[in-house]
Symmetry: C2
Subunit: 168 residues, 2 copies
DNA sequence: GAACTAAGTCAACATGACTGACATAAAAGC
DNA sequence: GCTTTTATGTCAGTCATGTTGACTTAGTTC
């Protein structure tokens, strides 16, 4: 029956395939973030705190403007979240040496501990999916997701990849 | 230099790889939804409205409880959004025949028009990424994302795939 | 007839985003 | 050296989307 449909409208399967892609992104992101959300709920933190902790942990010494660029939110939005994290001792701000207007961000030991806890959960999920799918599928996963990302951030990924060497 | 690191700590590359997976999901989802968000902003609708329109369009005649199960939000959250969509003539509710307690949901013509507009934008993004990546990569993308999705929803995908036949 | 289920409602609240206006300090440009 | 730009922060108000909890109404099931 679907074979007939496919013959009548050759675009049908293509649209179906694309819609499945859309749904896969929706469901996988929903379930992927759900894991960490549960951990954060205990600490009265939200997804926004997680993102800050993640990226500050990933790029220690980054300036506030850089972080805003990654998160693509306004500084007013960030300030509440970042303020809480600083106040509760997860993130430390130190004036920049080169440019003393900057407040460079880094995780405290407490912050690193939370970062590890959150990342461990998510890395475990990704690792499970990677193992189940195999190396070739992982390569495809990366290629397609890269294609969904805007030019600028995509470049960052590709640079890191070649700079890191030894990967493929 | 990174080669040395990899030899000293064999887990380094693995962790790096997993973190890249996490970031790919974050950035791709951010950019992927950004496209539709801009269209919705004109109509004073948000992402929540989009999800309702999408899934009602995908499964015409579905009951409210089913929709809640897919979205994994509370009925109170849904009611506001659904109420607006019904009021503004995007979604129609009709009592179920088998079970008259149910209000079965379907898009109106107006709703289908918006659905097409939104989906066209996202399908275009996915299509572009698929084309650039190639069929093999797409298969890997699907496999890995399926592995990130909870058991139950994953089954739904796999059933649809085999039922639809003719795909692979 | 009692118990359960589908759907909806009212109320209060939390989170995370936004715009707009303004303040301070340091850097950069002329 | 004065002006302009930049980095950061703050105050105030608003909006969208989620939550919990309590309760109602109507229909189904046992």
């Amino acid at each position: 029956m679907t074979d007939i449909k496919a013959q009548v409208n050759p675009l049908f399967l293509r649209e179906e395939e694309l819609r499945q892609g859309i749904e896969l992104l929706f469901f996988s992101y929903r379930d992927f973030t759900g894991e960490a959300d549960r951990i954060l709920a205990d600490k009265a933190f939200g997804r926004a705190h997680h993102r800050v902790i993640y990226f500050v942990g990933r790029h220690p010494g980054m300036a506030v403007t850089q972080l805003l660029g990654i998160l693509k939110i306004t500084k007013q939005s960030l300030s509440r979240v970042l303020g809480q994290l600083v106040e509760e001792g997860y993130v430390r701000q130190t004036p920049g040496e080169r440019d003393r207007r900057q407040r460079l961000l880094e995780l405290t030991e407490k912050g690193r501990a939370l970062e590890r806890q959150l990342s461990a959960a998510q890395m475990e999920m990704v690792a499970r999916a990677y193992r189940a799918a195999g190396a070739e599928a992982v390569e495809g996963f990366r290629t397609v997701l890269l294609g969904l990302i805007n030019e600028e951030d995509r470049k960052r990924f590709l640079e890191r990849e070649t700079a890191g060497g030894a990967k493929r």
